[in-house]
Symmetry: C2
Subunit: 215 residues, 2 copies
């Protein structure tokens, strides 16, 4: 039986609120990259809590990534396709949107910036691995174009929930070592029901309440 | 005194739920364009309610637009700047992100598609005017490149709230005439407090509840 965990909007809101001081202190992000669709809501909420008096909002760029569990693989693993897709055993990430560097103004190059990647859940880690690797590639290209070295771009990650399970994807060692990965909650390998997927939000909230009492 | 109207997450959720059948029936969108940051949350919720059994999710592209009320204008009105900004009397819209057409796959050209633009509020209408005009320009360029005529791209708009006030921006006549503009609620010119901006979400919900009883 798959255990379901129901999360209310207000719980999501409070998870972001709770994480914000540490994000501000440790990551000091200059740009958020929201992985859509799940990252849209936490990223928007986080923006409110990361806002500093007198400073502008931290800009958000949304990227769209879809994870498909493949049918038994017929292509070599690790193969990159022209469409920007990466095949890995059993999984495939497809881009539906990527960065728009032309609109970022002085953020136009990501080089030397502190960037917070936001998603709702770290399940198999496949999507996060893809996001970090592809963003690092973009930074590398931009860095070469600019012809300077030494400006290190710092990626950090915030997710609402990290599932305590074996991961298919990996994140850079230094990111984990330097604690630039923050999950508001670590949970077992349960089915997390986010409120934006609820067909009946009142029933959803009731189920969440029952859980809170029972746990 | 500015009247504040507090809206809870669950109310936002239900506004999207309520609007979804009409959007499916009348607009039949093939792509959503979420105007960030305010459009992120309703767009993500809407996606759940627009999902048809057996069909993939409707893709969302996020664009980022910021509206600044100008200081007394020192530039001619209507002036377009290289950065993609448009100056209008008293207002300025700045792009922080635009479409990523390269990742849209078969949606690569917007030509001939039905596109739903999503934002949280229609206040002065300046942002929506900018979005529609700029998207229409993109479609026009794409249409010319493709060298065919007759494939009409249909834009529609969904907002949670439309403020009943004099608008600075205008929308295409045919969009309004053909009812391709849907506001879940039309409200007076009040200050709408969305939940994702709340510093204290419990207090926010209490204020929303008090309003509901009082109204």
């Amino acid at each position: 039986m798959v255990i379901k965990e129901y999360v209310t909007y207000n719980q999501v809101h409070k998870l972001c609120q709770e994480a914000a001081p540490r994000i501000l202190q440790d990551f000091q992000p200059q740009l958020m990259i929201a992985i859509g669709g799940g990252g849209y809501v936490p990223a928007r909420i986080l923006r409110s809590f990361l806002k500093q008096p007198g400073a502008p909002n931290i800009p958000i760029q949304a990227i769209g990534l879809s994870l498909y569990e493949d049918l038994p693989s017929t292509t070599p693993s690790g193969l990159s396709t022209p469409g920007g897709e990466v095949e890995a055993p059993g999984t495939k990430v497809t881009r539906t949107q990527w960065l728009d560097l032309t609109s970022l103004g002085e953020m136009e190059n990501l080089v030397g910036k502190r960037i917070l990647i936001v998603d709702e859940v770290d399940d198999t880690r496949t999507t996060l691995e893809y996001a970090v690797k592809e963003l690092e590639k973009d930074v590398e290209i931009a860095s070469q174009k600019l012809g300077f070295k030494g400006e290190k771009t710092i990626f950090s990650i915030f997710v609402l929930h990290n599932k305590n399970k074996e991961k298919k994807g990996t994140l850079p060692e230094d990111m984990l070592r330097d604690h630039r990965y923050l999950a508001a909650r670590t949970v077992e390998d349960v089915w997390i029901c986010y409120p934006w997927e609820a067909k009946d939000i009142d029933a959803h909230d009731e189920l969440a309440k029952t859980q809170a009492v029972g746990s």
